[in-house]
């Protein structure tokens, strides 16, 4: 028996680069070195700045929903850096790919496969999950998630999947059949290597983690709302989070099942999707998209929620059409389970089947349109401040409707027969994913950042970044529509038609602009951290917010609310500020029970990564070891006692009173000074209409 399974030195890109030096192998070796250098320098920096203890105490073992949310977003950022770099490399390669190109076809296919998998499951998904984690308990007046420890475990599972993808850069190769990983191509016969196994064991834990997150969010929103917070008083972001959670609960099982079926085919010789002995590869596409389609709405719904909050806050108005927005959100969530076949209109089923799913797909345009119009009506007759989130909102409006339009075009089987599997489709989904999901998340992060960290983000750099994103996006992806209509297939490592070149050059140039945008985004964070004193908003309400989360100090204490608020209307905080008694003193404080720190999530993360890695390389003893460890951890948790800590009432009172005092001593600012250092997070009433 081989102790290390299929592992040996030859599986690293370094040995490739030594044995066969070329641009192709150097790019791979360079990427692997970057991962190693990155990991090592993080370790060194942590040691240098003596951050191990705080990292361990305050973050890795914390069960606080805000910190878990932040960790999700940091994970997303790390993965994003890789995803964007891969996108840029792909565009660069394709611009030179007339009859060839610098990278090998194999390498290019690894790139789009990791890029797609990473962007969907390890960038967009953690961004969404992280933001929901941070915001929802605050918006509904809860102390934490319903299941704080499970929350940690979800993060651990997602991180395990991400870790495995990162490992695949250094040890061995990733899968080459795209983020959809269709068999039989990814089956053992056609892909005998470890690639598809890496894909499987990254996707399965991430899927499980998201399913658990969904349960957590849904139960939190169902059961942990503050008194008086009826469903129809919930902020819109919470509504979208609820619908997303429900979709996570029902849409994640299919991908877990289809990936595990693929694993059974590969590892145990089953015949679910094989060519021979009655396998049925069409069922893979079918099950995968039962997850895949709802997945994209899982991503976009919370972004819709961000737009609702941003539009209302920055136009200083009530949200227009609350009931319509809620109805539309729920309809999108439910209908999205009835459309999955539009991803394989061209598989050969009868016209009636295609028609049913095509029309169901188109129907989604109606509620989506209603939402777009509702946000416009919210801005109408408001007093709009052109802050960074509103710049993103503008980009969203203009670009997303184009992406939506091309979605509706794709929903027509007649046309889809022509543009399916072409760059037209690639342009469509980047056109909804980037202006829809990522702009939404960027806007949401800018909006809620001060709540979590106590200081605002720099507006100047923020605006520069936002501008570059919009321009870069247009340059990179609009040309792909043209290429798609010209018939250029997606996933092409090279092409022979010189007519593609102009558009390819344009797109490559756009990718450069996008890299600039990414740099500007990171600069925003660095500049803001440098100027954090100047940007500090400790009083907690920098934007004249309307919902409950703004009625807390910034950063928010671990227990969120000194006393759980009583809610009597929508936009509860805005109403208080208008006529009631915001920041009212509290007469009686009570002890607060919070979950204790725990290493549960971390243990699950390590054990799962180990199991996955061992499975990829067939190191059976390690599989058994890690998996047993995983099981024992869970069983041991059942015996754990003393899982809670108590914050004494006196401590709560002390902090709360100090905050109230600071507010009493501050006069606040009007919205004109919102982006200056005068903004300490207290909103003064606006001047009367001129």
């Amino acid at each position: 028996m081989k102790l290390l399974g299929n592992l040996n030195w030859d599986v690293t890109p370094f040995s490739d680069a030594i044995n066969d030096p070329s641009t192709n192998t150097f790019v791979a070796a360079g990427a692997a070195s970057l991962v190693i250098i990155g990991a090592v320098s993080v370790l060194i920096l942590l040691t240098w700045f003596r951050l191990w203890r705080p990292l361990w105490r305050d973050w890795l073992t914390s069960a606080d929903h805000k910190r878990i949310g932040v960790m999700y977003i940091v994970l997303a950022l790390v993965m994003l850096a890789r995803g964007v770099a891969e996108g840029a490399v792909m565009r660069g390669h394709q611009a030179m790919a007339l009859n060839g190109g610098p990278l090998s076809a194999d390498h290019f296919s690894e790139l789009f496969s990791t890029h797609g998998t990473i962007m969907i499951l390890f960038v967009a998904m953690p961004l969404v999950t992280g933001l929901i984690n941070i915001v929802v308990p605050l918006q509904i007046g809860a102390r934490d998630m319903a299941f704080p420890v499970m929350n940690q475990v979800s993060l651990g599972l997602t991180a395990a999947g991400a870790a495995l993808i990162m490992v695949s850069l250094v040890i061995g190769r990733f899968e080459t059949g795209g983020w959809t990983a269709y068999p039989p191509y990814t089956g053992k016969v056609f892909s005998p290597g470890e690639g598809p196994d890496y894909w499987i064991w990254s996707v399965v834990p991430a899927g499980l983690g998201s399913m658990l997150s969904g349960i957590n969010f849904a139960v939190t929103i169902y059961k942990c709302r503050a008194p008086g917070m009826t469903y129809m008083r919930m902020p819109l972001f919470t509504w979208t989070a609820l619908c997303t959670a429900i979709m996570m609960i029902y849409a994640m099982p299919p991908v877990t099942v289809s990936s595990l079926m693929l694993a059974l085919d590969r590892y145990a010789g089953f015949h679910f999707f094989s060519n021979d002995l009655g396998g049925n590869m069409m069922n893979y596409a079918n099950i995968f998209w039962m997850f895949g389609h709802p997945e994209v709405y899982i991503l976009v719904l919370p972004a819709y929620g961000v737009w609702s909050e941003v539009a209302a806050t920055f136009s200083a108005k009530q949200l227009y059409g609350y009931v319509s927005l809620v109805t539309a959100t729920m309809s999108i969530a439910v209908i999205s389970f009835t459309v999955w076949l539009h991803h394989f209109f061209t598989m050969g089923q009868s016209a009636s089947v295609n028609i049913a799913f095509g029309i169901a797909t188109m129907i989604i345009a109606v509620p989506t349109g209603v939402k777009v119009y509702d946000w416009m009506a919210t801005l109408w007759r408001g007093r709009i401040r052109m802050t960074v989130p509103v710049i993103y909102l503008t980009g969203f409006f203009i670009l997303f409707v184009i992406g939506g339009l091309t979605g509706v075009i794709l929903a027509n089987p007649t046309i889809d027969y022509q543009v399916h599997n072409t760059l037209f489709l690639v342009a469509h989904f980047h056109n909804v994913l980037i202006p829809g999901v990522l702009f939404g998340m960027l806007a949401g992060i800018h909006y809620w950042f001060p709540k979590v960290f106590g200081f605002r983000l720099d507006e100047t750099w923020g605006a520069r970044a936002a501008g570059l994103w919009v321009v870069g996006f247009c340059l990179t992806f609009l040309p792909l529509y043209v290429l798609g209509l010209m018939g250029m297939p997606r996933r092409s490592p090279s092409f022979t038609d010189p007519a593609y070149l102009p558009m390819e050059y344009l797109a490559a140039f756009g990718a450069v602009v996008i890299l600039g945008a990414l740099a500007a985004t990171f600069t925003t964070y660095i500049v803001s951290i440098r100027h954090r004193k100047w940007l500090a908003v400790p009083l907690g309400d920098p934007w004249d917010g309307r919902t409950l989360e703004w009625a807390t100090p910034a950063p928010v204490p671990e227990w969120n609310f000194a006393v759980i608020p009583e809610v009597s209307s929508r936009d509860a905080f805005a109403l208080e500020k208008e006529g009631g008694t915001p920041y009212a003193p509290v007469s009686r404080y009570a002890d607060i029970t919070l979950p204790r720190r725990t290493t549960m999530g971390l243990t699950v993360c390590v054990a799962t990564t180990g199991t996955g890695f061992a499975l990829v390389w067939h190191i059976w003893w390690l599989v058994i070891l890690c998996f047993t460890g995983l099981l024992l951890t869970m069983i041991a948790r059942a015996f754990a006692t003393n899982t809670e800590q108590i914050i004494p009432a006196a401590e709560v009172a002390r902090q709360h009173r100090r905050w109230l005092d600071a507010i009493a001593q501050n006069t606040g600012i009007t919205r004109d000074a919102e982006c200056t250092s005068a903004n300490r997070g207290l909103a003064a009433p606006d001047e009367v209409i001129r």
Partner: protein
């Protein structure tokens, strides 16, 4: 309607660049598909253009400090609600109707006329093999069809899933091992076009294109007859085709003067399809297109 014609003009102006796409169609199916694209785009504009125009206007007019009307409590208006839900619904009803009608009309399984020319298509890694059972002709990587006559393709693969598309003639359809899908198409005029596999299937994916020629009657007869003394496609040469490589790789391996072969086993297509249904497992070295393929005939 004006917008529609503007769009058409724009598209036609760009047509040299679109020479291989369905925007310069060579047959009725692609023509209909292009028309449908333009129709759908135009109608959708009713809902989209207001956003494109309205958003900048609103942002400008109601920016803070300009002192335009301010109604912070505006949160509902019945007429507005009815418009917001009504207009998109109406558009979708119209689009849905068209979708219904055009999807039935352009069902790829529907022959485009009586007695279509039969062509069998086998997808291999990384080439397409065309069999003309009635003419006893086989052709690798080149599809020749008579102009003005309906053609019915029957597709399968002898490797992974692929997707066959000739944009200028008709849309794509998947082809899968052990299964048969249909695609009907027709060329209106003589001409040339490119087709390909669009479903990623490995390192040779980009090479898997085909030359399509629609020829007149004389050209067709000549092409068919010319195959009479070409090398024969039998199980031995077919096994060679199953190896990984492009159409030209295969042609040179088999010493072909051009893409044509003589189809000596008219039943080849069905043999390929049923090889996946004989209840026997297919070992990796017997699976055409697999990296370890070692055809028995050549061992």
């Amino acid at each position: 309607m004006r917008r529609l014609s503007v769009l058409t003009i724009l598209l036609i102006a760009a047509s040299p660049a679109f020479s291989q796409g369905f925007l310069t169609p060579l047959g009725p199916v692609a023509e209909d598909q292009r028309a449908h694209l333009i129709r759908v785009t135009a109608v959708t504009m009713i809902a989209i253009v207001p956003v494109l125009i309205g958003v900048p206007l609103i942002l400008w007019r109601y920016r803070r400090g300009r002192g335009a009307a301010y109604r912070p409590g505006f949160e509902f208006s019945l007429p507005l609600e009815i418009t917001m839900w009504g207009v998109p619904t109406a558009i979708i009803i119209v689009l849905g109707g068209w979708l219904w009608q055009s999807t039935h009309k352009l069902d790829p399984y529907r022959p485009l006329g009586p007695d279509p020319l039969q062509v069998q298509v086998i997808g291999l890694n990384w080439k397409w093999l065309f069999l003309y059972p009635d003419q006893n002709v086989a052709s690798i990587g080149t599809l020749v069809i008579p102009e003005g006559q309906p053609v019915q393709l029957k597709l399968t693969t002898d490797t992974v899933m692929q997707s066959f598309m000739v944009p200028a003639l008709a849309g794509q359809i998947y082809a899968m091992p052990g299964m048969v899908t249909d695609l009907n198409l027709m060329a209106n005029a003589e001409g040339e076009a490119t087709g390909r596999n669009t479903q990623f299937n490995g390192v040779g994916f980009a090479d898997q294109s085909i030359a399509v020629r629609a020829v007149d009657d004389a050209g067709w007869q000549a092409w068919v007859e010319g195959a009479g003394n070409a090398p024969a496609l039998d199980s031995a040469s077919y096994a060679q085709l199953g190896r990984r490589g492009s159409a030209s790789d295969a042609a040179s391996a088999l010493d072909l003067p051009d893409s044509r072969m003589r189809l000596s086993e008219p039943d080849l297509f069905h043999q390929v399809v049923s090889s996946y249904h004989d209840g026997q497992p297919i070992a990796p070295d017997q699976q055409p297109g697999a990296p370890g393929y070692q055809p028995e005939a050549m061992k």
